[in-house]
Structure formats: structure tokens, C-alpha cells
Symmetry: C2
Subunit: 291 residues, 2 copies
């Protein structure tokens, strides 16, 4: 049980976390701050936070648990803003989709307090952002990846595991580098492809006509292309190296299929499509399957 | 009201059509044929067809409406098999996802009976195939594209419009070439990309680990990668030229984003992601939106 949650960023992720913490009885009081004062006010009106803080620093004041739920590119500035009120018993977590850059930012700014920070990535989200879409069940049943480093305080790490577990999450741990490679592959690249497809279609003279004919397969395939451009700009730039490496692998795979199509190699094309189809048919979210 | 539907191909599409026709009271009797005798038998056991035909030719015998619901690459062989029992009052339709190749096959084989054939593409489907997944509502509320040519009999065309409309579909018409360009863009290409992504991930040493971390965005993005490899092999080969052209446009769009990521051009990257995000957010299935 925590006394006070300092919430920095009252968007979808932060607000949903506050609601879930309250429902689970894990926190008595939430002090919240968002860059936009109207967002902070709205969060209080909705009962997501109890007190509006006028700055990130004051949101942290007196907190025993802090959640940083800002776009990853703003993480370093947030660490800088709060570091003067960080106390040794304070558990600091984030929810960023990239981890290597966030850990680097923490090292540079938190320094001797680096051990208090437990880098977290809950695999949860929606295509609608903002405090008004806060969802107390957003994290229920989802995976959360923690990426502790050597400096991470063991007791704080255990506390972070306990918090997410109490919210109904399945917690696992890996290095920031492993995390970023994995999510470049299964999250950042699919987003990049979905954005690129939308632009490729709409950039054609007949694009509007084509889009009017698209069906349910297209609907699901492109759902993630409606994601927040600022959030995804930051993620793609923060994880550029891994993302570009995955994009190259993808293009090799695509060009291999193109080659089979243009040469009319039906047997090998079917075999490659079958491999993809079997992999997808056997995949279950959050479950490790045998190859 | 038709007397007898000759159904060639008792898979998902054909069986669902037969069920929908019966429920709508549009046909008295269904005579069905599938390449696999166990499928034909199963269709009769499930009440989807009333009579099992031992060949495509006999399925057509005495029918006043014929639906060809076979993989597109088998369409020409099917036309050849039935042409000797084609009668001038017989409405012949297909459900193929490509139209230029199907129309060419009809020209080559049906010849003087070409006018009886109305090429159809209902924009409906599931990632599970086969007679056991037949769904009386599969076509309800869906778009159906008809691609008549000069030779198409006007009365037959009107009959085809009436049938699909009576099944709850929104019917529109375009040329086979317009159809194939549009669906290369919004259907065949997304499938190709989804298949390519699955192979790109599973081909990596860490692929299995990566997949175990994937979340709901990945789930929806790759749903179509579980599609039937034979069906998609045929579609991709039948529409190779348009598909490869769309794939090239897509790769240019992807490489433009990659360039912005590798050069760290945050402003232009955001602007391009925003364009994609807005296009997708404003898109509604089956609705033509303004640019």
C-alpha cells in the first residue's frame, strides 16, 4: 500500500494506471500533473487524480510512488524536473515503449538515484488517446516488461513487480536492449508498415476510390495506423537503429515473395505463404509457442 | 425466385451463399459439387446443399443459377467442365477476388455463352475456411463488386444485382481492370505484407521470443496472415502485375519514412505519420470520404 502516487502525464496510460491503483486499493492519494493544465483539471474532475500539481516537481513532492507517463522523448526532461525532490524510498516507474533511451536518460539525470527507477513497459494501449479514454481495465491481463539494469535497487524492483502483479499483469524481465529489439520487430515495425501503407494508398490519384472499397481485412490491418503521430514519431526516433534493422529484414522477406510472384513460382510461393500462415495460426497472445 | 442453384465449390464462400439464398427464399433446391467428395457430403449433411453432384457438369445440369466458388486459378477448368450444359437462361456468377483473369478465362472457354457470366466479388471472408465455417450472414451488409464487360447480357447483369441486393449486399460496378488495381492496393498488398512480416520475424533466431511478447496491435495487424495459402497464392499470381506495382509504391512510401527516421527529421516524420493517421481515422468501411 502506497500513501501517495505522483502521476506525471495524465493521458491514457497514466490516467488508466491511477484508476487501476485506486480500484486495487494500492494507493491513498494521487497527485497529478500534465503539461496541459486542462488535462490535469479534467483528470481531477473525473476523479482520476485527487490533487492537481502545478509542475512535475510538485507532483513528486511527498510521493512514495511515481509514474512517469509521458512521450518517451520527454522522459529526460521529466527526470530533470523532478530530481531535486527524489527521496531514497521513492519507487519511480515509467511506461515508455522504448527502454534503452529511457534508461540512458535516467543514468544521465538521476545519477546516484538511478537505483530508484524501474523501467517498465506495459503492453497495453488503445487507438484513442487522452484522459477521457482512461480505462481502469487497460492493464488487466496484459504483459508488463521490466528492464532493470545493474544499478536498479533490488527492493524497488520487487515493489514494481508486486504493483503490476496486483493490477492483474503478467510481469517479465529482460535487458533494455533485448526489449528494444523485440518491440522493434513485433510493435514498432508493424506500426511503421501500417503508416507507410496508408500514405502509399492515399498518395495515389485513385486512392480515395480504393479506400472506399476496402473491407474488414484492411480495417484490422490498418487499425494501428490511427495511432498518435507524436507518440510514434518519438518511439521510431528513440528506437531508430533496431527499427531500421527490422525494416530491412522485412523488406528482404517481402522481396523474396515478390520474386516468387513475378517468376510465377507457385509451389515455392505457396510454401512461403504456408509458413507465414502456420506461424500466425499457431500464435497466441502472451504465450510462447514451440517452433 | 430460382428453381435450382448449381453450386460448384462448397467451401466457406459457396456454402455461405447457398445458406443465404435459402434463407432469403430465393432458391428451391441446391445441387452442389466440391472437388473433395467428403466436403460435398458434409455440405449435404449440414443441409447446405440438397443433392450431391458427382461432377461440376452435373451440378450445373438443370440449374437456372450457378455459383462458381473455387480458387481463382481453378475457374478456367471449371468453365471448361460445365460449358456443355450451359443454357441461355442460366445466370452464372463467381466470387473470385481477382477479376481480369476470371473474365479472360470466361472469354476463352464460354465463348458464345460469355454473356451469361456476371463476374462478382463479394468483399467478405473469414480467416477460417471450409464448409464447417459456413455463415448465413457472411454477405449481409457487405459490398459486392460486379465487373461486367461489353459481352455481358444486360438482363443477367440485372438479375445478379437483384440477387446480391436481396442478400443484403451493397452492389457496385466497375471494370475488371479497375477492380484489380483497387484490390491489389487495399486487399492483396496488405495480405502480402502480413505474410512477409510473419516470415521476417519467425526467420530470426529470436523470432519465437519476439512473438511471445506481441500484443493486441500485432494481433490485429497480422490476422490476415492466417489466410489460406492456396487461395492467396492464386490471387497473388492472378493479379501479379497490379500487386507488384502496388508493392513498389508501398516500398517507396516505407523508404521515405525510413529516410526521415535515419536522418532524425522529427518534424517531417511527424507530418508524414499525421497524414497516415488522419487518413485512417477518417476512413469508414464502405464509405467514400472526402480527401
Amino acid at each position: 500500500m502506497f500513501e501517495q502516487l505522483g502521476l506525471i502525464g495524465c493521458g491514457l496510460m497514466g490516467s488508466s494506471f491511477a484508476l487501476a491503483m485506486k480500484r486495487a486499493g494500492l494507493v491513498k492519494r494521487v497527485v497529478g500533473y500534465s503539461k496541459s493544465p486542462t488535462t490535469t483539471e479534467r483528470a481531477r474532475q473525473l476523479g482520476i487524480i485527487d490533487v492537481e500539481a502545478p509542475s512535475a516537481l510538485l507532483a513528486v513532492s511527498g510521493a512514495d510512488i511515481v509514474l512517469i507517463a509521458v512521450p518517451v522523448a520527454s522522459t529526460e526532461a521529466t527526470f530533470k524536473a523532478i530530481k531535486h525532490l527524489v527521496r531514497p524510498d521513492m519507487l519511480i516507474m515509467d511506461v515508455g515503449s522504448t527502454k534503452h533511451d529511457v534508461v540512458d536518460a535516467a543514468r544521465r539525470t538521476l545519477r546516484e538515484h538511478m537505483g530508484l527507477f524501474v523501467p517498465c513497459h506495459p503492453i497495453a494501449g488503445k487507438e484513442v488517446a487522452g484522459v477521457d479514454n482512461a480505462d481502469v481495465d487497460l492493464f488487466s491481463g496484459r504483459q508488463v516488461i521490466l528492464t532493470p539494469v545493474e544499478a536498479t535497487n533490488a527492493a524497488h524492483l520487487q515493489n514494481a513487480v508486486n504493483v503490476w502483479t496486483a493490477l492483474g499483469c503478467k510481469v517479465s524481465q529482460m535487458t533494455p536492449e533485448q526489449h528494444d529489439a523485440a518491440f522493434a520487430s513485433v510493435s514498432h515495425l508493424p506500426h511503421l508498415l501500417a503508416f507507410a501503407l496508408m500514405n502509399a494508398i492515399s498518395g495515389q490519384q485513385q486512392g480515395e476510390n480504393f479506400l472506399s472499397l476496402a473491407g474488414p481485412g484492411f480495417r484490422d490491418f490498418t487499425r494501428i495506423a490511427a495511432g498518435d503521430p507524436k507518440i510514434w514519431r518519438d518511439i521510431m526516433l528513440a528506437n531508430a537503429q533496431e527499427l531500421l534493422a527490422q525494416s530491412k529484414l522485412f523488406q528482404h522477406s517481402l522481396q523474396a515473395l515478390e520474386q516468387l510472384i513475378s517468376s510465377g513460382n507457385a509451389a515455392e510461393l505457396e510454401s512461403q505463404l504456408e509458413r507465414a500462415s502456420m506461424t500466425r495460426a499457431n500464435w497466441r497472445m502472451g504465450v510462447k509457442t514451440s517452433p
